[in-house]
């Protein structure tokens, strides 16, 4: 019984620590990563819109970027932001999740040029908000 409780406590502690704490340095780093991923995605979408890429490349690269963005959102969601960074971290999580969803749409329809045209701007917007957030940390 005692052993089971100890294991439970350890598991709870590990779960609580999963994302670590969000310091200004880490927040800036994560916001820059999101800006990088979404700019990358935006350029990819622009390439699809102009018909200058291949379906296979677009699908795999969008899926790779989408996963990265989704992982960033998941880790930040389970992290503990410092008091002054709570609202900004929540905003960053929402942005990362949105970028992941948009990139997922590209991965599912890599030859849809009109969709890619719309998502180019949306991803660029996410990138510019993430850049502003990184500078505000």
């Amino acid at each position: 019984m005692t052993r089971a409780l100890a294991v439970l406590c350890l598991v709870s502690l590990l779960a609580a620590c999963r994302g670590g704490s969000v310091t200004p340095f880490r927040f800036q780093h994560d916001a820059e990563s999101l800006a990088s991923i979404s700019t990358d995605g935006s350029l990819l979408a622009h390439g699809i819109f102009k018909g200058e890429t291949t379906d296979a490349y677009a699908r795999i690269h969008a899926s790779e970027l989408g996963k990265e963005s989704g992982q960033l959102a998941a880790i930040l969601r389970s992290a503990h932001p410092r008091p002054g960074l709570r609202a900004k971290t929540a905003q960053l999580v929402a942005l990362a999740q949105r970028a992941s969803n948009l990139l997922g749409q590209i991965a599912e329809a890599p030859s849809d040029r009109s969709l890619a045209g719309r998502l180019t701007d949306a991803l660029e917007h996410i990138s510019s908000v993430a850049t502003k957030l990184s500078k505000s940390a």
């Binding site: 820059e32 800006a35 700019t39 390439g47 200058e52 890429t53 490349y57 795999i60």
Partner: protein
């Protein structure tokens, strides 16, 4: 014709060694993070590998024995065994990274499942080695790797800043506060240029092709300088393209997919396909180099028959070794390990094996009793010792830098 084949050997070693997955990752990221600032590290590495490749080609030509054979004889069994273990670990890690890299590139080309493409990558490489003669492996993978020249075309298209590029030839950090990350990437670029498997492959190739001092020593010099020079040129092109395209947009090009985005955005679909095909051949060539290096090392250390020129039946344990290391790489990749992480570990840990490889080579190459009139001249000795000092410095700093910078992530 033999001379052309000889130069091809150098080009293959250079493309495979210089522009392997480690170099693609480090050059692309270094350009995206620090612009032109780290070009000097590539130039430093290129001169270093040319110096030591020339020495190992000369030793192999004069003594008719490849580097590993000489290490064991010169430094004794225990030292040789230590070098063998360190080199084999790095060779296998490198092979895992390269085969995984080939699968990643195939995935970007074909869009199929990654694990299926790991199977295909292993099959393509093993069948290439089995069916193609040594010269054709060189031609197909070495010259195919030259398609990476598309990065140079893309860089020129972007209009590089020649003044900043010239500044990048001299180490002086500008506009960065994170000196540790800068140092980590400098070490990574230098190390990826001087991976020990390159000299094992190069010297064994020289013995396999039956180089003789009378006709091949000049060719050896030309090959070392030209071959590794081409590799350095391609690496610098990747840095420049990354500095001009990714850095201003705040993109961290830390995947092969992002690295290929530059040529695509600048030159369209053709640029993308050439970049991916160039990566396929360069990384595939490096996979073959590293699998052969593992087989050469083991066979030469234990005195087995070895060589690609012999039929598999003529060198069964040598053949079995390269098949087994491919099998090992395959099994490890099927666990889902990320080849790009393995790449960084392979490059950084190769630094630890470097002094064990390059010191015996230098000692033999400068030994007049052993090499006679073909021993190192004054310039060869000065450069050899200078580079050995740099290698020691880099070997001492590589692992601490990797730990302190969290694999360059800051």
């Amino acid at each position: 014709m033999n001379k052309i084949v000889g130069v091809a050997l150098g080009v293959l070693a250079a493309i495979g060694g210089f522009v392997d997955i480690g170099d693609l990752v480090f050059s692309s990221e270094a350009g995206g993070k620090f612009g032109y600032q780290l070009i000097w590290a590539i130039v430093l590495g290129a001169i270093g590998i040319a110096v030591y490749a020339e020495m190992c080609g000369r030793v192999a030509t004069v003594t008719k024995r490849p580097v590993f054979d000489v290490i064991r004889e010169r430094m004794g069994f225990e030292f040789g065994l230590g070098t063998l273990i360190a080199s084999q670990l790095v060779n296998v890690m490198t092979l895992i990274a390269e085969v995984g890299g080939v699968a990643l590139v195939l995935q970007l080309l074909a869009g199929l499942d990654y694990r299926l493409l790991v199977v295909m990558a292993v099959l393509v490489l093993v069948i290439s080695i089995w069916l193609l003669p040594f010269e054709w492996i060189e031609r197909v993978y070495g010259f195919g790797g030259l398609l990476l020249i598309v990065f140079a075309v893309a860089a020129l298209h972007l209009g590089p800043d020649w003044h900043r590029m010239a500044n990048g030839l001299v180490p002086h950090p500008q506009g960065t506060t994170n000196y540790l990350v800068l140092a980590y990437f400098a070490v990574g670029l230098f190390a990826s240029s001087m991976m020990p498997y390159e000299v094992f492959f190069y010297s064994s190739g020289a013995v396999e092709e039956g180089w003789t001092p009378e006709s091949e020593l000049t060719l050896n010099k030309i090959t070392a300088i030209f071959g590794f020079g081409v590799g350095a040129f391609l690496s610098i092109s990747i840095i420049v393209m990354s500095a001009e395209y990714f850095l201003p947009q705040g993109i961290d090009p830390n995947t092969l997919g992002t690295a290929a985005l530059g040529p695509q955005a600048i030159l369209g679909e053709t640029g993308l396909l050439l970049a991916l095909l160039g990566m396929f051949f360069a990384v595939g060539g490096a996979a073959i180099d590293s699998s052969f290096a593992a087989a050469y090392n083991l066979a030469q250390f234990f005195g087995w028959d070895w060589g690609k020129y012999r039929r598999p039946r003529g060198a069964p344990r040598f053949t079995l070794t390269w098949i087994v290391v491919f099998g090992l790489a395959f099994l490890i990749l099927m666990t889902g390990v990320n080849p790009l992480y393995v790449t960084e570990f392979a490059v950084i840990f190769s630094v630890v094996a470097m002094p064990l490889t390059y010191l015996p080579l230098l000692l033999v190459a400068r030994d007049k009793g052993y090499m006679g009139q073909y021993a190192n001249g004054r310039l060869g000795n000065v450069l050899g010792w200078l580079y050995f000092g740099i290698i020691l410095l880099v070997a001492l700093s590589a692992v601490p830098l990797m730990t302190l910078t969290n694999l360059g992530q800051g």
